[in-house]
Symmetry: C2
Subunit: 300 residues, 2 copies
DNA sequence: TTGAAAGCGGTACCAA
DNA sequence: TTGGTACCGCTTTCAA
């Protein structure tokens, strides 16, 4: 009745509605949710909101959910599978309608529990070995290839500072880096390839090592924004005639300022968030729709 | 029964509990909440999570709530009173147990509605004209005084780039700036005092103006982190022999790197979040306790 | 100590 | 179309 699903006559409906607003009636969402088996709450599980990439993603999700009348429940997993699992259980207990999850590991066992307990799941950022989830990722390989090609146009000595190889994002970006080399007919120098943990400190240390080489690279491809900030810190500590060109896969946060120019991809973290929220709302509306695997690129 | 509040014998209790876990029983939080009139959900309303200050605050709140088994519902008000009001209503509808709010305006009318509808409110960051709320702020005036005094020790020509005067934070920080001048027996130069809107662009423009002066200041006190990033951008665009010393009220985010050294206060945004969450949990446990007005400073 | 029953505030269904 | 009633799953109370 109060949600308009009842076959009441216009007059009665109106009478009820004015009465309701005059009395300041507010629907109790808990009671409603209990009956309808839905809470109008969406969970978001990310490694850390304090990482500027996820901050933007979360903001995008929130903006999109707001329009649909959903509220966002924020969870930080710190990339730990136990925290992620615990949160998924809690979210299921709270009867959340769905979860947007940036998986801590490519490993899916626990995820199935979550789904079994009634959570609708949308995956973001990292792809996992399964096609039964809506997934939103960025065009890691293509974008990395394009960015690297830009560097190779100026020089053949290009370094790579990447994330942990167990993550799909780091793999894909490294593959793009190699693609560009292949196209350009250049053999990458293994001494210029660094694998770190996607951290500021990792980027800093890798860049330090590069700068200490007898022949530093002419350009550096850096696999994410946080590492790039470490790279910039390393650069700022070093005096040199010709600093290497820096290309960062992610854009730096809007408030980051730097003396050293950095070329970046326009990784659309905000749009990624909106898209993920969209997919989740669509699936909630129609659980039988086909699974989507959206790949957000630099276009537009 | 399932929450242990029932006068059951040990044996029965245990029997039920093992049965429950074997069957994979999970309590329905919606039903439980409906009955107990509590949802184990806490709302957080901030202007924008993407502002590094609030990002840290939110992270602090989340970590603290997690330990207590509460979930965090994130809302961005964009500093707009309408969005804030709408969210408070939504949160009340969802029967949230409480809200941690960074008020968009010093104006409280709507807040009372929220409380009337059953929300327990804790205020953060900006103080409002009322003593009937738990409040957590930073020691704006003292910290600003100390930071400014550091600059005055080196020179008498110190500029001030502050936030909007209608906010309590900007007022207090400016007062601290003046305090330091009084102690040092220095008259502040009004041409060096800028009021902006706490934005990166505002900081940028103010700094540009300062650099264009015939006699630029020897030091600049900047009222928040975001403006400081604008200030740094302005500096990076300008070549000069002796750049002014920059002091930022807030610390820059951990990943920020900069060529220009910046002295910062150690504004404990993370701790502010934890403290706010603590206060809220305490009040939820004992609604009649005295209102707290906590002032977090640089000590420790 | 135990079990049964009422009710939190809605929604959905059914007979009138 | 309408009003009445059962029921969502849990907590609390009350009688046995």
């Amino acid at each position: 009745m109060l949600n308009g699903n009842a076959p009441v006559s216009g007059a009665t409906l109106e009478r009820v509605q004015t009465a309701a607003s005059e009395l300041g009636y507010r629907r109790n969402a808990l009671a409603s949710g209990l009956r309808r088996r839905a809470s109008r709450l969406i969970g978001v599980v990310v490694p850390d909101v304090a990482n500027p990439f996820y901050t933007e993603v979360v903001r995008g999700i929130e903006d999109q959910l707001r329009g649909a009348g959903y509220l966002l429940v924020l969870c930080n997993s710190d990339g730990k599978i136990e925290k992620q699992t615990e949160y998924l259980r809690l979210l299921a207990d709270q009867q959340l309608d769905g979860v947007i999850l940036a998986p801590a590991t490519p490993d899916l066992d626990k995820l199935e529990d979550a789904v079994a307990s009634g959570l609708t799941v949308v995956l973001i950022d990292r792809r996992v070995a399964s096609t039964v989830y809506d997934t939103v990722t960025v065009k890691n390989r293509d974008d990395a290839r394009i960015l690297t090609a830009g560097l190779l146009a100026a020089s053949r000595r290009i370094a790579h500072i990447g994330g942990p190889h167990r993550t799909s994002t780091a793999q894909d970006r490294f593959a793009g880096f190699l693609d560009a080399h292949t196209s350009a007919g250049v053999d990458p120098d293994p001494r210029l390839i660094f694998e770190t943990d996607y951290s500021e400190q990792g980027g800093y240390e890798a860049m330090k090592s590069l700068l200490e080489l007898e022949q530093p690279p002419a350009g550096v491809f850096v696999g994410n924004n946080v590492m790039t900030l470490g790279v910039l810190r390393a650069l700022s500590e070093t005096e040199m005639a010709a600093a290497p060109k820096i290309v960062s896969f992610d854009p730096l946060p809007w408030w980051a300022s730097s003396v050293h120019p950095v070329t970046t991809g326009s990784q659309p973290s905000y749009r990624l968030g909106r898209t993920a929220a969209d997919l989740l709302l669509l699936r909630l509306a129609d659980p039988s729709r086909e699974y989507a695997d959206v790949n957000i690129g630099n276009e537009e």
